[in-house]
Amino acid sequence: MIEKTDVVIVGAGPVGLFAVFELGLLNINSHLIDNLDKVGGQCAELYPEKPIYDIPARSVVTGQELTDELLKQISPFKPKFHLNQQVESIKKIENGWLIETNIGKVIESKCIVIAAGAGSFVPRKLPIDNINDLENNNVFYSIRNKSKFDNKKILIAGGGDSALDWTNELSKNAEVTLIHRRKEFKAAPDSVSKMFELEKQGKINFLKGQIKNINKSSDMDEVIVSYDEDGITKDIKVNYILPFFGLKMELGPIANWGLNLNENLIKVDTEKFETSVSSIFAIGDINSYPGKLKLILSGFHEAALMAQECFKYCYPDKKNIFRYTTSSKELQKKLGV
């Protein structure tokens, strides 16, 4: 089923969220798509607890607080979120676009607003030459069906919550080895002590080291993992490797949409923040123009100007008269105040 809206916003970080507000004031509805499982972008994923000091009129606000406040601010406009997916392709149709995500969701809209920051968050891949061949055969960065690992030899790498949680969970039905560069872990203390308890009981193995290479074994189902332990290279044979080294950001499929790019940033004008393709806009850290500063406040400004131009695509026959939320009864009605 194709869903319809006025604007699809690619990226639900602070700037994408605020775009909902500026568009909403002009009676423009929006849907947001984000590859993360939550809204807030980098603010929520990378630094939810860290303070930000340069949001106007907020002397200090954390990444998560900023996200929560923005969600509250845009709630009157009831944006629809499509999380855990990224836009795979876009197709021009009469008066708009068909946007398709990697899990097959299709949305029709009049405009597209790219507010994708530094790109989609994707798992950080092991830096070894043949990693792409191994991916989804022996190497998995996420687990969709854990029974796949039943009775298999698994090597889990990393020291954060994902690594520890999966070590503890998969140890019930699989032969799990955890490899981490040190004996201290960033993961929640509860899961760490549970892991050490399992190790004591012989239910998992722990290796202190870092993965260097992965080679196919003569036994087709297995791979040989070479790892470095205090300068000494050792091998372990396993069926599957689950590396958990956090997330990194990648531009992803946006690079193939035919937009003018400048070193992975999207070129826009500074009047409308429109890209080289009409009715596609780019705001926030993803765009590039002379004098650009990658600040959240710049993205907010860009969102406001972008919305003015989107109005022309969404309501080609209407005139947009500029109004203030402080004085306009009509705008206040929209905000439900």
Partner: protein
Amino acid sequence: MIKINIKDRNGNNHEIDADTDYTLMEVLRDKGFDIEASCGGCCACATCHVYLCDNWLSKIKPIDDDEEAMLDQAFNVKKNSRLSCQIELSDELDGLNIEIAQE
């Protein structure tokens, strides 16, 4: 102004002049070195990973728990690994010698 010697990811050596009162990451990024620093310097990623060469590790402020934990997300971590966003440049670091770690 101090001098910093940098070995980039292709193995080429560079000597740059750097203003103090910036972090090493900020200077590397400003000079156009290939370093992602995706969190912008708040010690929330591990994409500004460098190695401190010679004896420089012992001459800078020791690593704290936060930085050590972030290094868990880096690859090829060595004893002289640091996140460049946590290294504040000062006159004492004149002649600093570093290598940018592979991504």
